[in-house]
């Protein structure tokens, strides 16, 4: 049994940040935030200090699942008569970082779930490879591979907009 009020007070802000940053939608993030805590009911950590990581991982997984579901439904639903978005903006205009952020999140939705999770946990949440391996119950080597592949694909996704001076080899 767990003192949920204390856990919420301690880890709530971080879990919420994770959910909101991935989904950028208040109601969705709220659902996801609640889901993460509700899912945590099933878990008995070996050590209370693990809660932060456990909850972050749960929130990341829930949010990415939702992000992917959102992308799927947008693809399969024929939006008849919706005008094609034009892509030929003024090429002289430099692509703003904020836009890259949006596109990166869209790119995350296109990655396999586990890859996206590993990328987010490592690059945004700052978990170590060992911690991720522990949470996802996979070998550390696999974490490295997933991270490398995930980043590679994100780079390709953003390639035209990422700095011209640097290209992935």
């Amino acid at each position: 049994m767990v003192d949920w009020a204390a856990l919420l007070a301690e880890h709530g802000p971080r879990v919420w940040r994770t959910a909101f940053r991935i989904l950028k939608h208040y109601a969705d993030a709220h659902d996801c935030y609640q889901d993460a805590f509700l899912a945590a009911c099933q878990i008995a950590p070996r050590h209370p200090a693990d809660w932060g990581r456990i909850l972050t991982c749960l929130a990341t997984r829930k949010a990415i699942d939702r992000l992917r579901a959102r992308a799927r439904s947008a693809r399969t639903e024929p939006l008849d008569a919706v005008p094609e978005p034009s892509t030929d903006d003024d090429p002289a205009q430099p692509v703003r970082l904020a836009e890259l952020v949006d596109r990166l999140c869209a790119g995350l939705a296109g990655l396999p779930g586990k890859q996206a999770e590993v990328v987010w946990l490592s690059c945004v949440e700052g978990l170590t490879h060992g911690e991720i391996a522990d949470q996802l119950r996979i070998p550390t080597g696999e974490v490295r591979v997933l991270l490398h592949r995930g980043r590679q694909r994100l780079r390709e996704h953003l390639a035209p907009d990422l700095s011209d001076t640097w290209r992935p080899s």
């Binding site: 049994m1 940040r17 935030y33 009911c41 439904s73 034009s86 903006d89 904020a98 952020v101 990166l104």
Partner: protein
Amino acid sequence: MSTDPKPDPLDAVFDAIRREPVPDRPPDAELLARLPAGPSPAAQAVTLARRRMIMGIAKWSLAAAVLAAIGATVLFTSSANIALADVLKATEKHKLVKYKATVTLTYDPEANPDPETRVEMMYADLRAPRFRQEVPEAVRGPFRSSAYTVYDHAKDRLLCVYSNQPVDGTGAGEKAAVLQTLSATPGSQVTKQRTLPDELRELETHKDVKVTKEGKSLRYTVVDAKETTTLWVDTATQLPVRMVVEVERLCEGIARLRIEFSDFEWDPELKGFKSLDDLFSLSPPEGYRLDDQTKKPAEEKKDKEPGKGPAENQDAVKVVKPGAKSVRSLAYCNDGKRVALVLWNGRDFREGGSVVLWDVQTEKVQHTLEECDNIGARLFSNVTSSKDGTTIAVASSQLGKPKDGAWHGAIKVWDARTGKLVKPFELDGLAGAVALSADGAKVIGGARVYPRANGKMFVWDVQRGEVRQTLEAEGLLYSAAAISDDGKWIAGAGDVGDPTYKGKVVVWEVATGKVKHEWAGLPPMSAVTFSPDGKQVATAGPVANSIGFSPDGKPVAAVGPGAAAGSDDKVIRVWDMQTGKLKHQLKPEGGGHITRLVFSPDGETLATADVVGSVSLWDLAKEKTRVTLKGHDGPVWCVAFSPDGRALASGGDDGTIRFWPVVPAKQPAKEPAKKEVPALAKEIVKMKVVRVTNEKQELDRAEMTIEDDEKIGQLLALFPEVGTKKKPDAAVPGGGARGYGAAYQITLHREKGDPLYITISHQRKWWCWSQGTTVTNGDWNLKKPTEVGKFLDELLK
């Protein structure tokens, strides 16, 4: 994996993600309710302490705490020098224990550098579950107050006796007592079942008790997470002499809570009491007016018997209890689906309260926006909503340092849909008046400053979070404020305070910031409202509706007026905005003072609530009551019309909200709506509305073809730019917006020419297009997304 020496631009993007601001998370109350209850044994003590604190340690649980003290002794000694049975025996020799409880709250230094302390004397009967708690006389705000409470668990009764006398001696004070059923009192659940064995069992989970010898006593210490409990037991008498409970970071803003029980006196001499029964008596002393609330439920049933009461009375359609002692303020929001409530745990704000969003259909609290117990010394006075129902604002105040007794007020603006705090705005003094503009973009607030008034009424821009305008009326202490629906006028009402307490109402013109009308020399005003057309303003008073209370209808001195200010004036005044002259004077017959008044949406009817329990609907033209709604037991503090004007909600000291059916004075005219139909509507033969995804962006497809002219007109009214020659914004590249999927798609079939399409994206942006190019778009961000969404969903049903 190769390590690239150059910085990876991808990391720059991740960095940007980490730096992105994130809005505040929603309140956890709802989630907490869904999570499994019951703490782990290890966390139990913390939770016990927290429950005590939250429920209000001083008022409700000191009794439990002294049991804990004794229980703790017993427990601790089981592993120490003094045996369990010995301490039990030692306490059983006595009949009564008296001790001092000192509660100290240390806030976060940036919030409040000075700790707050309160001291109470406790008496506990060691043979029966009854307690007496005495609060020493002290100056609190404008009052010199003292109180004591007797808890008798065997008889299931609670008697609270208190006295409030104005410090400056003006006007009458109050001496009153309230008798309640203990088990029906909030917070009593904690103490009700807590007996010695319970406390024992709860505390038996402690394994790590440190014992040290300190002079003649033994010191026992238990450290459990955030809570440290220390107990001193006299080795000679084997009785507890002191106990300290310290909780770190009790909740946000409170760095530390410390409760000390000391000065134990076993079987003290009773001064002024003949016997123990006298000490724990459930009848108030002479000279105190008793309000016996234990009998009320039975009376209420009697009232409901058919055939009783005057014929003109109507029955409320629905009577609900949102679970607090008193409903102090109420405002409809979210298109009438919810009401925002200010609830008090007692008839006095000092017993704590909350601000909640309450669902009218499910009759449940959806969001708790703010709450406080009786430690916090916070006062929620009024809640108001914007006419579009999207935003609510609450006047909330905190009593600062105990010495200066000053109030620190705030106007807090909340999103009514999400229950999320948009912005708090600080006020110097007790936040008395609050009002929102019809669109929720502006909020105004004025303070009752103690002890000196500055008469400033602030107009804030909600989104930008800054003061937009400062309006002034010298020396006015605000009790109520209003903004006209068209946003052109702002009214502030109140009184000028000590010594005359004369009431004043001021109306400013927003455009110029100048005073348009000023009506002075009135009784103190406690309510003000504009008619929907902005041509009239209605005022009433005096009732101290933001602080203190007086169930017999007499306003409380120092905040309301003294008798000198003509407190017998119960007249409702309606002023003409154009001429500034008094247009109507409505005199309630036999009713009490008016607490609140509000115009019906059609402006024909004025609804008022009073302190004797009635709600009246006035026919303004005839200056007579159309109907008097009776049902509330005790003062009615708030009244509001539902947005459609068909229902009236009222709330009061009996803890109920009553919904009354309202028959409009005239049948609502539908003509005006049609006048607004744009010219384009005539061209359109039918429209097709398609929903692709819902609010949550889940696939939720529905479609409907509509030929009703009125509906088409209503839809076009939401998109005023459609059909005009307004050019699309430069921000709409080509035929639409990049990257946005459609949430709704509307096809308008015209008599001639190609159909027009309106696409609304997930982001609630919209554009109108035809033949693949954008024809026009509106405000790039829809001003009222929910209104549009709701309207469309309604069509699709």
